[in-house]
């Protein structure tokens, strides 16, 4: 560590501070300490700042830059894209895909969240009462999280296959009609949503379960002494006390789900037609899904997603502030 040459100004500065520190009177020392710790703060923040600029600010700026220029592939290579202002956004909003994609994003996101949260919460409450094998069982519920997405998405695609899928063979075995899960425009979106719900349950389970650990057991004890049943306990104790954790879980889930590409792409590539195309899929398809990359409209759709996610992010911050103010 010490062998690294540190010819950086801040080190000399700190030496100076070190030299004067012992002799300094308390008041002066305090000021000195402040400035030296400020130096330290800057030093510590620097890697983070560099990281933020490199990996957050620059890509974001680049995304906006892409979306306000007309980046044909030729312009992309030669770097002479024409500035077109908001034309890409106008085209995105005017596209026939836009209303479909927006609606699909809405259905996919809220459908996923509603079921993921409900099932996750139910499981968390279920596992709160520890019983034999409860830990093992709980661990098994994490499997969807551990599987590579390509594996789970392909498995779902096989299971929902129209001709040979296990889901349809069960349905037909009980005398039902074959359902074209992934190839009918009516069910494709539902199918990918189901797969995504399954994928998201572990996340909700884990966070809500840890939230439950923070609710003191005495509260339940007192409640049961007062004669409250399990149902009453859930609505009057668990649910309200879990509210801060729930809010965070749902908001994080929203932001995660908004940008899901992989599951849908593997299962349906957004098809048939545009039937399961969400904004994220649309953006990906424009950029990488065709023989001719269209980075500008893709970036415009991507920015739209960022804005939507930001709205929810601010909502989250507001909620948090309110909670902190009340507590």
């Amino acid at each position: 560590m010490t062998s690294i040459p540190a010819d950086v100004g801040s080190r000399d500065g700190s030496r100076g501070a070190e030299g004067t520190t012992p002799a300094a009177p308390p008041a002066r020392r305090r000021r000195r300490t402040l400035s030296s710790s400020q130096w330290a703060a800057v030093g510590f923040a620097a890697p983070l700042l560099v990281y933020l600029v490199l990996f957050y600010a620059y890509p974001l700026w680049r995304n906006i830059d892409l979306s306000v220029h007309d980046y044909t592939i030729r312009a992309f290579v030669q770097g002479d894209a024409e500035f077109v202002g908001l034309q890409n956004y106008v085209e995105v909003f005017g596209s026939s895909t836009f209303p479909t994609a927006l609606w699909n994003t809405f259905v996919f996101t809220f459908g996923s969240i509603a079921f993921q949260f409900t099932i996750g919460l139910a499981l968390a409450v279920f596992f709160r009462s520890s019983f034999r094998l409860s830990n093992t069982l709980r661990a098994m519920f994490l499997v969807p999280w551990l599987l590579p997405l390509i594996v789970s998405a392909s498995t779902w695609a096989w299971m929902l296959n129209s001709e040979n899928g296990i889901v349809n063979s069960v349905i037909t075995a009980f005398g039902g009609e074959q359902i074209n899960w992934l190839t009918s425009p009516d069910t494709a979106l539902i199918s990918v949503t189901i797969a995504n719900i399954w994928l998201g349950i572990p996340f909700n389970l884990v966070i809500l379960y840890s939230g439950l650990q923070n609710i003191p057991g005495e509260v339940y004890e007192a409640a049961s002494l007062d004669g409250a049943g399990a149902w009453r306990q859930f609505w009057s104790i668990t649910f309200p006390l879990l509210r801060p954790v729930s809010a965070i879980t749902i908001l994080l889930g929203l932001i995660y789900t908004l940008k899901v590409v992989d599951v849908i792409w593997v299962m349906t590539t957004g098809g048939p037609g545009d039937a399961s195309t969400t904004l994220a899929i649309w953006s990906y398809r424009e950029a990488f899904g065709t023989g001719q990359p269209d980075f500008s409209p893709a970036a415009a759709v991507g920015n739209l997603l960022i804005v939507i996610a930001l709205v929810f992010g601010f909502l989250h911050l507001r909620l948090q502030n309110r909670q902190e103010a009340t507590s």
Binding site: P5, R11, S36, Q78, A157
Partner: protein, 428 residues
């Protein structure tokens, strides 16, 4: 006192270290950049030439790698070969061109040639002084933009109709009877009547979907410049009828060409539309297979789209490198070179008649090969007819129409009507 002082010193020192660390990192990465460009110009005299291809299935110990290295040795250099997935390769090529770090040689899927050429990142074959007169015009066309060829096909493959001989004989269908759409549909009716499955193909919403639909589209006499022509509607109606009648499974809407092949290998299907690259796998199937040419609507062989890679040479800052690149390209494109490539990759048909003859003579007694040579001769480039960089846009509209019609979201006529207006607005 002592204690706090110590803490501050440590703090400051760590901060300094952190800053130093970052600047060291920065130095490293800039070193890296200049280092590689230094290396590139330094290597011009001999040394290393970079080569990208879309064959990640052939690793460093493969015959293909050995073949590439042999071409490098002949030119007195080492070739550093990197393999990418087909779609990733186009993106990588564009990125490298933007950064000015293009490889010396790229083997790229033929519809992408015009896309790359349009960016100005490729040299023309003429600039390189290579002779393309021997190359079959229908194959070379895919790489021609505004009259200049930007690459040379190193081989060609295309689509044909595989059949399961056991299923056909069980249903009493003679493959030789399949000469047009009507006889094919009649055969499908007969096969499904006998309790088998009919045909499977790829209707997925990617380039593969368009690739598989084009033989029927062109076989009806339709043209890519008019997606909503009555001929085009007829072609799409052929597919939707097959689905409606149960001759083709509903899964074709999401089938990639690999899935099609897996379905065919189950032995249930009478027919599968697939490519030259499955010949070896077909020979190893647990049932007897054969191929018939994809029929045109009223008979004859439908033009199938050409598949296969072009060898292209991206523009280099250091033009001194072109000499060696030229030798490497030539090594891959002599008649012997073509045959060798064809043998390295099973059934990669040479793009010159000389090469085709040589291949047929060499593999005399291989009856499987002749129909493929015929199919390649009848094939048509997707970016031909002056479509060039418009093709990917038209193709996207086309596969969307196929998806919408097959899934029942729209009638074939409606779907193609929409596709045509989408294609027009995208290419205008």
């Amino acid at each position: 006192m002592q204690h706090t002082r110590r803490k501050h010193t440590t703090l400051a020192a760590s901060a300094a270290l952190a800053v130093a660390g970052v600047s060291v990192l920065g130095a490293c990465s800039s070193d890296d950049g200049s280092g590689s460009s230094d290396g590139a110009s330094g290597d011009a005299a001999g040394g290393t030439y970079t080569w990208w291809d879309p064959y990640p299935q052939h690793d460093g110990s493969s015959d293909w790698e050995a073949r590439v290295q042999a071409c490098g040795e002949d030119a007195g250099v080492t070739i550093e070969r990197t393999a990418y997935d087909t779609t990733a390769l186009t993106n990588q090529a564009l990125l490298s061109a933007q950064e000015g770090t293009s490889p010396d040689v790229i083997l790229i899927d033929n519809p992408a040639v015009s896309t790359l050429a349009d960016t100005g990142m490729l040299t023309t074959v003429e600039e390189f002084g290579l002779d393309t007169s021997a190359i079959d015009q229908n194959l070379l066309d895919a790489g021609v933009v505004d009259g200049s060829a930007y690459g040379i096909p190193i081989g060609a493959n295309t689509l044909s109709l595989y059949y399961n001989a056991d299923v056909l004989s069980d249903a009493g269908v003679d493959p030789a009877s399949i000469t047009d759409w009507d006889s094919l549909t009649a055969a499908l009716e007969q096969v499904t009547g006998a309790g088998h499955k009919g045909i499977t193909f790829a209707g997925i919403g990617t380039e593969e979907g368009s690739f598989q639909f084009l033989p029927w589209f062109w076989g009806a006499g339709a043209d890519l410049t008019d997606l909503s022509s009555p001929e085009a509607v007829e072609a799409l109606e052929l597919w939707t009828t097959w689905l409606d009648e149960g001759y083709a499974p509903n899964t074709v809407i999401n089938n990639s060409q690999n899935t099609v092949w897996e379905e065919f290998l189950t032995g249930d299907f009478a027919f599968a539309e697939n490519g030259t690259w499955q010949v070896n796998s077909a020979a190893e199937a647990e049932f007897e297979t054969g191929i018939v040419q994809l029929p045109g609507k009223d008979g004859g062989v439908a033009p199938a789209p050409t598949g296969g890679e072009f060898i292209v040479a991206p523009v280099q800052e250091d033009t001194a490198r072109y000499d060696v690149t030229n030798q490497i390209v030539e090594c891959m494109t002599t008649p012997e070179g073509f045959v060798e490539t064809a043998n390295t990759f099973a059934y990669y048909i040479p793009p010159t008649s000389e090469g085709q003859e040589a291949l047929l003579t060499e593999s005399a007694g291989d009856p499987d090969l002749t129909p493929w040579v015929e199919a390649v001769q009848n094939a048509k480039g997707r970016t031909s007819d002056g479509l060039g960089t418009d093709y990917p846009l038209i193709s996207e509209a086309l596969w969307t129409a196929v998806q919408n019609a097959l899934s029942g979201a729209a009638t074939p006529a409606e779907a193609l009507e929409t596709a045509q207006s989408e294609a027009e607005s995208a290419t205008s």
